[in-house]
Symmetry: D2
Subunit: 318 residues, 4 copies
């Protein structure tokens, strides 16, 4: 099946190339092979791309079946018109771009550099500037959907940058995900991601407060969830990621809050959201509170738990 | 159509009476005819009930077409097996029940007293005790769905009390609403309502923070909403009650935040939720914050605005 | 020395009686002999009063040297012109006042009933009404200074009620404390106490945040405290009740946070403060947050620790 | 008098030079002549220093009586062993240091560069590194005391860096202020300042909540302040910067909240404090809340008001 897809892709790519008048190779450089990146790179390979990969951890790179393993970002960037990064923060992306054996040393003029990391919007704008200076094109394209979405290739990409570049990126991104949104100019993808995640975090905390209070006052958590899910308190959290253990099967709350969206990562995103809010003078009191609650969980030793663990924390020791 | 419904109802009622072995009259006493109560009473009448109504405001009572207007709660309660109240707070319900010309003076032994007001769970439990002492049966049955839901008879009833009594109440409640949940023992209906509304309030504030920050950083609010609505930040608020003006038609944010769920009423519910949380030692930091934000709106003069006005408040004067 | 004081007191009392034209006995009824009440009653006895005491715990009553132990509030109230209560909450005060063998059954007409408990201002106003109906006079007179202040007779009394009654109470109160403030009408003593304590709680949390962050970033906590104590962050907390262990000697933070102002009691006061704020539509966001932080400490099992334990909680497990 | 002081200073300087074996000139370069810097530079001049000044605003520089006005930071730094900066933020300090006509271009090897700006501790550490690379010595020395303290030369300097360098700086700093604290290594001065100011902000908000609630419930604000000032709620804020208008004379709350510590500046410091807390994983929930409350004031148009204006904001429109 994948062979057919790969064949089809080549045809589509050719057509696209003819339409845009720009020669696009089938090849991708992929840098950053953590939980998310490894799965994304694998999907591209399975669907017919030749992917050159690099990670600081050699074993992470070696785990990607069918990939061409490289010794530096420079090498991974060479001979590709598309280079994708999926890295922990903006400083590291800049480093990987500009270092001695960095992307800029290998990438061809006019190539498309797509950063899928979650970083500060401001950092994304700096990456766009550095890219322009070096005659390459840039997109910020952070994802939502988490490790599950990466595994199932159902990620949503929120993309900032030039509309034509977004169109060019789509056939690639849609092999690793299900939806691509063009959010606006450089950095807008990051803004959209933070805007979504700050709602997610607050909704999780509020849903946890509700389930804790409700059950302590005698309600059956399943009945309460049923009510909320047909009422005005309904949300993605209450329906598909309910923090009460076992209400939804096969999610971290059903598995001792292991895996999932770790407390320390939601705290990172909330910190980025607060900084973005500062830049535009937007008060974010609720975001600040959910941020600090998650910081408190980290200081209590729960940084590696899934973020639904806030329910257990509020429930307490009794 | 309503005549047929009324006919059908009588048949069903007869069947039910035969099944339960208990004589249920077709008649209802309804006390409290504000925005919500007036619409609920009207639906009962349209669907074939004989309804005796009372309100402190005579003109409110007179506005209910087809109702039998009474001069006291006592009179409204006489000759009915079902008495429904829809009043502003628990103190008033107790007063209406126990006062000189109150419900208890008119209601028959073993009748069913259904309080649909939103009050403290503790108060509902006191009403249950008073009812028991006076040989009548009690249900707390607060609603969600607001004025719109009352007008369309699509309210959700969250009911606390005895299961048999809930079954007996259902044919009545389902004439004024669309769903009935039995939540547990006396007071459980109130607990469920507060549990839902605390999530609603926090989600509204977080969604407003997100839309304010996003648009200040250059996103199109419609695009951001589209993204959130297919992502993990999705909620009833983002989908059907979006606080950015005009994203959803025919809701208060599209109409200068007039009508709807008033700031002062959401603040009332959050205060009740906090008190309920105190009773069971459940920390509710996010509920406390959204409560205080709405209190701040009240102190700034926005108590009568729809609760989505928090978006405008965060947006500020610039 | 105390004999002389007692002698002097009798002289002063006689003079006062002559001036006011009202016969004041030297005797006091004292009900509620917990940590605070026991010390206060003892001071009155040591300084020459005849004190009739009652507590639900007989052994608590028996521990008061020189007291006349009674079997009911009624008995403790008999033959005294002054009756003082020091009890856990407003419901209990009302009970002790109105129960079958309660204060009202024993107290003489026109006597002065002084409630030193910390209760809701609204409850104090209800006590005033009940007192008036029963032809006795009432003062609410909660204290600040804690167990240490009670032991050293340095308490501050914040008193609500009639100015003449406050003057009459002063000679008694000043035997158990050092300062008496007339705050206003009935309930004003309670309001003043809550107003003070909400500042105290917030200042404690903020000082703990500062010391935790400062030391984690390398500052010597002693040096930081010295700086704060000559700067704009200075407070009673930073100077005399510093939450960092050992900075101030002989306070709970130097003794594993045992004793002192327990987390569960500061949480109780903050709950009362929030309810008082609700009655007057005063937003109290910071009070609500410190309240919820202390509720979180309770749910984590630290309700019996001194309230400075918030420092350890923020510091966390690392 | 100042002549005598200047004479004495020269003697002391000579003695110090002899003791340390290091030739210290009497001269100072001073860059940044805003509200604070202008007053500090003036004190140095009045007390006998030769001061070369630079500011982007020529008129600001010209207003300093007795100063030698320069055309660049480079020129201001030349021929001085001490160069002091007082600038809005860390980016500007770095710019002024490293730009084409910046400090580094004029300053002599081994000179002492003292930055009195309030900036991120991390930025101060970067300045220390840049200084070391360029063979000059660095101190971060932010101040507390505000414009009033600058005018009266009663500032407190919180200094991070090498102990010997702090000793060398003292005679200069004590001409513009009253106290010098050595807080620790590079950046420690900034940490101490932020630690102090986060307490200050929270205490101000809590004191404002208390005064608003107390007066709305009928207390006289003067009486409440008197009580708090002898009780556990006492603080620098309640005693010397009380937010209720007129309780303390000659401070901004007595003058329509004009001047003083502007809302936008306290918000800036709280933002820096939160970022510093992030670096060391210290939860700061109360700081985050007071930060967001001040951000809300900014969005409502009150950024230029004194930070005690939070009282008026909570009081609201009624």
């Amino acid at each position: 099946m994948f062979q057919k897809q790969a064949l089809l892709l080549r045809l589509v790519t050719n057509v696209t190339n003819n339409l845009t008048g720009r020669k696009i190779s089938n090849n991708v450089g992929f840098i950053g092979l953590g939980n998310m990146g490894a799965k994304m790179a694998s999907h591209l390979i399975k669907k017919g791309r030749k992917v050159k990969v690099y990670d600081v951890s050699k074993s992470a790179a070696q785990s990607i079946q069918g990939a061409q393993i490289c010794n530096s970002p420079k090498e991974a960037a060479e001979d590709n018109s598309i280079v994708i990064t999926m890295l922990p923060d903006g400083e590291i992306v800049k480093e990987v771009l500009q270092t001695e054996n960095g992307i800029l040393k290998g990438i061809k003029k006019n190539s498309l550099f797509i950063d899928c990391s979650t970083i500060e919007p401001k950092s994304a704008q700096e990456l766009a500037k550095i890219s322009k200076k070096n005659s390459i094109r840039f997109l910020d394209a952070p994802v939502s959907g988490g490790v599950t979405g990466a595994a199932a290739a159902t990620l949503t990409f929120m993309v900032g940058g030039d509309a034509k570049d977004v169109e060019e990126a789509k056939p690639y991104l849609l092999q690793a995900g299900a939806k691509v949104f063009h959010c606006g100019d450089y950095g807008a993808g990051q803004v959209a991601k933070l805007c979504n995640n700050l709602i997610l975090a607050a909704t999780m905390v509020a849903t946890a407060e509700s389930l804790n209070m409700g059950t302590k006052l005698g309600l059956d958590p399943k009945v309460l969830t049923d009510i909320v899910n047909v009422s005005t308190g309904r949300s993605w959290t209450s329906e598909t990621y309910n923090p009460y253990p076992g209400i939804v099967k096969n999610i971290p709350p059903a598995n001792n809050y292991e895996g999932g969206f770790m407390v320390k990562l939601v705290a990172k995103d909330l910190g980025l959201a607060e900084n973005a809010a500062l830049q535009c003078n937007a008060p974010v009191p609720m975001t600040a509170l959910s941020h600090q609650l998650y910081r408190t969980l980290i200081s209590q030793g729960f940084g590696d738990k899934d973020f639904a663990y806030i329910y257990q924390f509020l429930k307490g020791v009794n």
